[in-house]
């Protein structure tokens, strides 16, 4: 009976560990993917970032790479931020406790594209 769980733990240890020290889905980006037509072009999407915490506190949302703070909430346990995605690459966001600077949750908006070949278009036939 327990051997199944032991095997699962050995195969996927991070799945168990991450649940222990991080609240699942504390920060959600919807949609979590932006699709551009061609590789190399900026992708545009209206992203809604939603977060939930079990306790009231002071929290901030920032760009995980540049550390640019987008919004902070005082004495809240949930929040929503509308983000205008405009980028040539994926962007990660993180929610952190502004009192301790500890990162609570991380999410990413992935960039995808349809056409790899950037030289493909030609004109239509005449008739």
């Amino acid at each position: 009976m327990y051997s199944r769980w032991v095997c699962a733990f050995l195969l996927f240890p991070t799945a168990f560990l991450s649940k222990a020290d991080e609240m699942p889905n504390a920060l959600i980006a919807l949609p979590d993917t932006c699709v551009a037509l061609r590789e190399g072009r900026n992708c545009y999407a209206d992203i809604t970032l939603t977060w939930h915490q079990p306790t009231f506190g002071n929290y901030c949302l920032r760009d995980a790479t540049s550390k640019y703070i987008m919004q902070c909430w005082l004495k809240q346990k949930e929040g929503t931020f509308n983000y205008a995605f405009d980028s040539q690459q994926s962007i990660s966001f993180e929610l952190f406790d502004s009192n301790t600077s500890k990162v609570i949750s991380l999410t990413e908006v992935k960039l995808q594209w349809v056409y790899q070949n950037r030289q493909k278009k030609r004109r239509w036939r005449l008739f």
């Binding site: 993917t33 699709v35 992708c43 070949n117 036939r125 005449l126 008739f127």
Partner: protein
């Protein structure tokens, strides 16, 4: 004999150009190009399959003035170093383009290319929808697809480019020449891509008479013998694409072509213009 000599001369000139001007740069070399993008290095390819709804008012006499239906759309685009190949199978863009970039410097490009210019047709029309024999076209000879090779000179701007082409039929279909000029512009707006183009073309008398002339064996009381001179056409097109997700693309397009008197006055031509429109979905592999 004269045509064979022309073809031979053209082939020699082309080989000379290839040997003298061949470069390894890989900027854009198509009719449409977003020259703000960094060109793909090495081997790159895209292929897609889709289905679309097409409507068009055919220029051929007897064909339904609002011909419409669902059509399969297959495309393949390959690039490797200076070589490129586009296969696009739908009635707005159908055909094959094989090209090689000879010169690509200072926003100018010179390409050698081979392509089909004119779709073939017979007494069943263009054969898009498998219609039966059209009474008004009954008895005409089959006009075959041509295959033309030649040179294209292109001047690139950021999202625009202008091209000049000289092509000559090497398939023996009409043994004529075609001169094309084409100005195109790509406008990305958010995740949409809009493309517009305006073109002006001239066709030799051999080309015009092969496709639109009527010889004595085809002539009837309603379809007199028709011989004419070189002809021309002008076209405008608009195309839009939008990525639904990583694999699916929505597309819509409009194409209008106006023909000169030499084509319009042919007994098998019903009007001097043609409009075509299409909406569809494409799966990109």
């Amino acid at each position: 004999m004269k045509n064979a000599l022309l073809n031979y001369t053209f082939f020699i000139i082309t080989l000379l150009c290839m040997s003298i001007f061949s470069t390894s740069s890989m900027a854009s070399n198509r009719y449409y190009a977003d020259n703000t993008l960094e060109p793909t290095q090495g081997f790159a390819w895209d292929w897609s399959a889709g289905v679309g709804y097409h409507i068009g008012d055919s220029y051929l006499i007897g064909v339904d003035s609002y011909d419409h239906g669902m059509l399969v759309d297959l495309t393949l685009a390959l690039s490797y170093e200076n070589f490129y190949l586009d296969f696009d199978h739908n009635q707005l863009s159908g055909g094959l383009v094989v090209g090689y970039s000879l010169i690509d410097k200072f926003d100018w490009g010179l390409d050698i290319l081979g392509t089909n210019v004119q779709s073939g047709f017979n007494d069943k029309g263009l054969g898009l929808y498998n219609d039966g024999i059209i009474d008004e076209l009954r008895g005409i000879k089959t006009r075959n697809y041509d295959f033309d090779t030649g040179l294209r000179l292109t001047r690139r701007f950021e999202n625009s480019q202008i091209s000049f082409e000289y092509l000559h039929d090497i398939s023996g279909t009409h043994n004529g020449w075609i001169v094309n000029t084409f100005f195109s512009h790509i406008l990305p707006w958010r995740n949409w891509e809009f493309r517009t183009g305006v073109g002006l073309s001239a066709y030799s008398s051999d080309f015009t008479n092969y496709y639109f002339g009527i010889d004595s064996s085809e002539a009837t009381s309603d379809r007199p013998i028709y011989r004419t001179n070189a002809s021309s056409s002008m076209m405008f097109e608009f195309h839009a694409e939008y990525p639904i997700n990583q694999d699916w693309v929505f597309l819509a397009g409009w194409l209008t072509t106006w023909f000169s008197n030499e084509i319009d006055e042919s007994p098998i031509i019903t009007r001097r213009y043609q409009h075509q429109a299409k909406v569809g979905l494409r799966y990109v592999f």
